[in-house]
């Protein structure tokens, strides 16, 4: 009884979590390979992982993946600049003018969960079959999280910090730039990071739908050619790019916020 109630010694962690994560991924691919090779899964619907890996080199060399990647990335970056300026600006305005916040916050939040990508025909009419259709789709779809997170960051600034500013007799402009904005910056960063990821998803999606531009168009072309290993290889490439994109944003955020 006494032994059972006694605290157990802490278990020594011997396997790093990264190894566990990578092993699960390898195990998943191996089981898929097995299921496809044994005919449980139809190889004309899902190609075996070995074929997908084998077509990586071909897709990179023959399909100009890097050129397409740069195109998608530049669309994302332009959308990102627009998002930061308009999204952060919108959040600041909504925080400054309570009437605007009360009038718009609900529908901006609703917009965040709406499938805005379905509006692509409208954008196609307005901007034509150009990169601006993708940029504007990415921008509009990713705007709500940036606005909402900016608003949240500014509204949740601790009252005592605002009072410190007041006690030093700050002007409204000083109060904003020296206290509210820096205090809200961590939350604003979260909004921008979410926004950029939303923008990337929507940009690749619209490239696929209108068969124009970078990585999304590549997936469309390969699928239309019924080059299934190539299509899946391109999808893997997009996922890889998304992961790298996310990790880079996290690194930038940490570099800009050394105090956390």
């Amino acid at each position: 009884m006494t032994d059972a109630a006694a605290p157990r010694p802490a278990m020594r962690r011997t396997i790093p979590p990264q190894v566990v994560g990578l092993s699960s991924l390898v195990a998943f691919f191996l089981s898929m390979e097995l299921l496809i090779q044994t005919g449980v899964i139809n190889r004309f619907i899902v190609p075996p992982p070995s074929d997908i890996i084998g077509s990586f080199g071909r897709v990179i060399v023959e399909e100009n993946v890097f050129g397409r990647f740069l195109l998608t990335l530049s669309e994302c970056l332009i959308a990102g600049v627009l998002l930061t300026v308009v999204g952060v600006g919108g959040g600041v305005l909504m925080h400054r003018f309570k009437l605007l916040q009360q009038a718009c916050e609900t529908w901006v939040a609703a917009m965040a969960s709406a499938p805005i990508v379905l509006m692509y025909p409208l954008f196609l009419v307005i901007f034509g079959r150009s990169m601006w259709t993708m940029i504007m789709m990415g921008f509009v779809a990713a705007l709500p999280p940036v606005i909402l997170k900016t608003l949240e960051g500014l509204s949740s600034t601790r009252k005592v910090l605002v009072n410190v500013g007041r006690s030093f007799n700050l002007t409204p402009s000083q109060q904003f730039w020296k206290i509210l904005f820096p205090a809200a910056l961590p939350t604003i960063f979260v909004g921008i990071r979410l926004g950029l990821i939303f923008a990337l998803i929507n940009i690749v999606g619209v490239e696929f739908l209108i068969n124009f531009g970078g990585l999304g168009q590549l997936i469309n072309e390969l699928a239309e050619r019924y080059d299934l290993p190539g299509t899946y290889a391109a999808i893997c490439f997009v996922i890889l790019v998304s992961i790298l994109f996310f990790m880079t944003l996290e690194k930038i955020e940490r570099w800009l916020r050394p105090f956390d």
């Binding site: 005592v160 910090l161 009072n163 007041r166 006690s167 030093f168 020296k178 205090a183 105090f259």
Partner: protein
């Protein structure tokens, strides 16, 4: 020995640097209007350390906000060196109860904040900031961020930042309330040392009797709601003081007397809180 004086505005000398005159603060609540501070008058002499002590709900923090200019709607008058003030004033430096350092600024940048507002050149303000950092005993931590410091160290950064603005009056609202007793006593020593070194006029709002007796020249005891001045006690203990004084017999007598005054008020506050909790079972006490 104990020399309690009458709770009127006539009890201090006429050379007061801070005059709080007949302050009345009312708040509208769902249960009706509440008088938080009722006709409170104080005078603080230059270089004096005055504490305001009272139970929770006696309007101490409301009074802090009135004197600091953070509360607009009140009756009465606050004046500094003869000038009536309405709103925050550069002569009054505030140290808050809650942790109030800027997490995105280093210790030096936090302390240099008020100097930056005056437009002082960077090199000069860093030098000044370092002086105040040394004053609160944080040399060596100049380039650290508040997130890397303990609660007590962060409160010292806040104190240094306020002192850097060189206020005529230092106004503190339970600055050590969130700290453990030992740290509180040691920081009390530090505040006393700085106050004596700078001859800094200080108004401390607290609910801690030991802290008040350890540091003050006079202690204003407040009643529970509505907050009125119940008694003003002159603390006739030798200076310079340190926390060692808490073991002296005279110290114990002052603590006992102030507790005798406070006990009745604190009991009233507790009963009121219980009554409020019973009548608002879901909301609990406010």
């Amino acid at each position: 020995m104990l020399t309690p004086t009458k709770p009127t505005s006539q009890d201090a000398t006429d050379d007061a640097i801070l005059v709080v005159d007949n302050i009345v603060v009312r708040f509208e609540t769902p249960e009706g209007p509440i008088v938080a501070v009722d006709d409170v008058s104080l005078k603080v002499k230059p270089g004096e350390f005055l504490s305001v002590i009272g139970p929770s709900g006696c309007g101490k923090s409301t009074l802090f906000n009135v004197v600091g200019g953070l509360l607009g709607h009140y009756n009465g008058k606050v004046s500094v060196a003869g000038e009536t003030i309405a709103g925050p004033h550069q002569s009054i430096g505030m140290v808050f109860q809650e942790e109030s350092t800027f997490p995105w600024r280093t210790v030096t940048d936090n302390v240099a904040f008020p100097l930056e507002l005056t437009g002082m050149a960077k090199a000069q303000r860093i030098e000044r900031a370092r002086h105040f950092i040394a004053l609160v005993g944080l040399d060596g931590f100049e380039n650290r961020y508040p997130g890397e410091l303990s609660g007590g160290m962060r409160q010292r950064v806040s104190l240094a930042r306020t002192l850097a603005s060189e206020p005529k009056i230092l106004l503190m609202d339970e600055p050590f309330a969130a700290l453990d007793e030992q740290t509180r006593l040691l920081l009390g020593d530090k505040v006393l040392q700085i106050q004596q070194q700078l001859k800094q006029t200080t108004l401390l709002i607290t609910h801690n009797i030991t802290e008040a007796v350890q540091m003050s020249d006079r202690i204003v005891v407040m009643t529970y709601r509505p907050g009125k001045v119940k008694r003003i006690v002159e603390i006739d203990l030798p200076r310079p003081r340190t926390s060692e004084i808490v073991g002296s017999e005279a110290f114990g007598r002052y603590v006992a007397q102030i507790w005798a005054d406070l006990r009745e008020e604190a009991s009233r506050g507790m009963r009121d809180e219980e009554k409020h909790t019973l009548s608002h079972p879901k909301g609990g006490a406010s």
